[in-house]
């Protein structure tokens, strides 16, 4: 279906259909965010021997996030007097937009995807780096020493971990021979890349958690040990936007992990009768669960140790992985 739409010539109808589909995706993503927040709270609660939210919306607290978002919407919108007003208003937008834009290249099933560009993976990684600008802008525009410090630290962290992120997928690209995400999924018909590239998987997972600003790398956010993070001056809906950006980015990153390492919509060997969308959803859920599990278990890494870890440990390991993959590929080609 999408192939046909993509190949058709550009027309207002085409535009209208794509726009509609994008809006549908937006709503799906927002729905996901709503229930991801709830799932996080419930799963964290159960792991910590307590129930999560269980009052609003029945026994499982199904409407909890709705209530929370409603509360945030009706809060007073405060902008500090000395804040840089245009940047202050723009920062959440800059943070959110790239997170949503990268969803364009993710193949959800073999029939349903939005774009089929030859440089899908590169597009993803390039656009996701723009989120950092949003965070730094937010830190600067708040006119607050601590927000600035938090923003700077966040920027340093996210930029440092982009490099291992990219390096680790080069192994995948070597094996696939293409940057196109659809091709990558196709190439996993003989076995998911988690089996062929375990080191890359681990490096990518760690770097992804750092990109998402989640525990154990949540120093920019949970700096409430000392000072609040880069979004200290944001309240109400603007803060909700930052949170939304984080969870949409989590959606995007989990989808990417599913696509690159877990075979996307490919089924397990003998269970091909289950549709691809279900497979995608299942693998995606497992990744999200692991991310929440990390949050419950680990303490926070200190800022300087974080930098050290990214540059001195992850990067060399990722580079070593590239060499290893290249050598293996050559050996496999010879035989």
């Amino acid at each position: 279906m999408m192939e046909g739409l993509l190949a058709a010539e550009a027309s207002w109808l085409n535009f209208g259909i794509f726009f509609l589909l994008a809006v549908v995706l937006l709503f799906v993503v927002l729905g996901f965010v709503t229930y991801a927040i709830l799932a996080e709270r419930k799963v964290m609660g159960f792991m910590q021997l307590r129930y999560g939210p269980n009052q609003v919306g029945g026994r499982f607290g199904l409407l909890q996030t709705v209530a929370d978002v409603l509360k945030l919407l009706i809060k007073e919108d405060t902008i500090p007097k000395l804040a840089d007003r245009p940047l202050f208003i723009l920062a959440p937008v800059i943070a959110f937009t790239p997170a949503f834009m990268v969803l364009a290249v993710i193949p959800f099933t073999d029939k349903f995807y939005f774009a089929d560009i030859g440089v899908g993976l590169l597009y993803y990684i390039a656009i996701s780096g723009l989120t950092t600008i949003g965070i730094v802008t937010g830190g600067w525009a708040s006119n607050n020493k601590y927000a600035l410090m938090g923003g700077m630290r966040a920027a340093a962290q996210m930029i440092s971990y982009e490099i291992p992120l990219v390096m680790s997928v080069i192994g995948i690209i070597l094996l696939t021979g293409s940057l196109n995400l659809n091709d990558i999924v196709e190439a996993q018909k003989n076995g998911w890349f988690i089996i062929w590239q375990p080191i890359a998987f681990i490096v990518f997972l760690i770097a992804a958690v750092a990109e998402l600003n989640r525990v154990p790398f949540d120093l920019p956010e949970a700096e409430s040990e000392l000072v609040a993070g880069f979004h200290v001056e944001y309240s109400g809906f603007r803060w909700a936007f930052f949170m939304l950006a984080e969870y949409v980015y989590m959606f995007a990153m989990a989808s990417l992990i599913t696509v690159i390492f877990l075979g996307g919509w490919l089924p397990l060997p003998f269970l091909g009768f289950i549709p691809g969308a279900v497979w995608f959803a299942l693998k995606f859920t497992v990744v999200i669960f692991i991310l929440i599990w990390f949050r419950v278990t680990f303490p926070r890494i200190r800022a300087d140790q974080l930098m050290e870890f990214g540059w001195k440990v992850l990067l060399p390991v990722a580079l070593a992985n590239i060499f290893l993959t290249a050598i293996l590929k050559e050996l496999l080609n010879i035989f």
Binding site: M44, M47, Q48, L49, R50, K145, V215, P216, D218, L219, A222, S224, E225, L226, R295, V296, T297, F298, P299, R300, I301, R302, A303, D304, Q305
Partner: protein, 366 residues
């Protein structure tokens, strides 16, 4: 011209962590702390002045509020001081009840320390696990004394209430359960690489520094000095129990962490023996006069509380109120080394160091 400036940062009285109302004025140069100056006194309630108008039994509830996480030992230090002055004999059952409640309080206090320390460092789950165990201890102490946090349980000459039916069995069941949980804590946190990186080598001081700054308790034992008042100057009936004094070398937060966790194990040992030796009947309050009047003179006694050495000085004129009552509060003395430890550290280590000293503001201010 580009120049750097030292920033004055106020880690204000409202603290994100649960230590209490404690203010720290920091001079930081970028990320490195150049000077730290603690400001205390936000919780000063004038206990010592109030005590000059109260009878000794009336002062006991005030002692609860000083170190509110280990209130039993506070109760005991005051009673012990008066009993030492008056040379009273305490009945056996009362002594055992005192030991059992004090050790339970010690475990509860260490659990709170463990949970909140990890909460400060970012791990949110150990806090809840620690409090699950603490809830069991608090329920037991609630049954015997009526309070969950402040007990008002000890009296000069014994304890106020006897253990209800089945209470000793509950304590007996708790001990192996807690041992299992301790193993779980080790698995979850102690071997965690991230945690180790955050506490190893952080906030180190030497033996000489520890003695010079009058540190006590786990802060002293983490430098390798083997000293526990329960063993060295035994009070109550601690000389009947067989337990070890946990020490570690290193003097950093990692050593303090281990010492405190091991102390929970040792307390469980003492509890086991105490529950076994518990006399099945007897009085819980010795023969004391209705109005307690220690003889004229002064006395200073010290015992081992979870935070260190707590002492009580009484100057009495033979009346029913003390002439002067002074508590030697361990957190007050332990906190003096903080400015020295913080110089040259970066901000993230501030919380790790402060948490490892284990202070309770009620005790610092008194």
């Amino acid at each position: 011209m580009i120049r750097t400036e030292e920033m004055l940062l106020n880690v204000g009285p409202q603290h994100p962590s649960t230590h209490g109302v404690f203010r720290l004025v920091l001079k930081i140069d970028g990320e490195i702390i150049t000077e730290a100056r603690p400001v205390i006194g936000y919780l000063h309630r004038g206990t010592e002045k109030l005590a000059e108008d109260l009878q000794y039994t009336q002062i006991i509830p005030y002692t609860d509020r000083m170190d509110y996480l280990a209130a039993m030992t506070n109760n005991y230090v005051l009673c012990h001081a008066v009993e030492t002055m008056m040379d009273l004999e305490i009945p056996e059952r009362a002594e055992y009840l005192r030991i059992i409640t004090m050790e339970l309080g010690r475990i509860a206090s260490h659990l709170v320390w463990w949970g909140t320390y990890l909460l400060d460092l970012g791990a949110t789950s150990p806090f809840l696990y620690a409090f699950r165990e603490r809830e069991m201890i608090i329920n037991m102490l609630n049954e015997i004394s009526g309070g969950r946090l402040t007990f008002n349980y000890m009296r000069v000459g014994g304890v106020k209430w006897d253990a209800p039916e089945g209470w000793i069995e509950k304590v007996r069941e708790f001990i192996p359960y807690m041992r299992e949980q301790l193993k779980g804590y080790d698995q979850l946190v102690t071997g965690n690489e991230i945690f180790m990186n955050r506490v190893k080598g952080v906030g180190t001081y030497t033996k000489e520094d520890a003695l010079n700054y009058s540190l006590s308790g786990a802060n002293l034992r983490c430098t390798g000095i083997k000293w526990d008042l329960r063993k060295e100057e035994p009070y109550s009936i601690y000389d009947r129990f067989d337990f070890d004094v946990c020490i570690r070398d290193g003097g950093d937060a990692w050593a303090r962490y281990h010492v405190r966790l091991s102390e929970i194990g040792e307390s469980l040992k003492i509890l086991e023996q105490a529950v076994e030796q518990f006399p099945s009947e007897g009085a819980v309050l010795g023969k004391v006069p209705k109005v307690i009047k220690p003889p004229k003179g002064e006395a200073f006694v010290r015992i081992e509380s979870p935070r260190g050495e707590i002492g009580c000085y009484i100057a009495s004129e033979g009346k029913k109120e003390p002439y002067r009552l002074k508590f030697r509060r361990p957190s007050f003395y332990n906190l003096q080394i903080l400015p020295k430890l913080l110089v040259g550290q970066n901000m993230a280590n501030l919380i790790a160091i402060l948490g490892a000293i284990d202070i309770v503001l009620g005790e610092v201010d008194g």
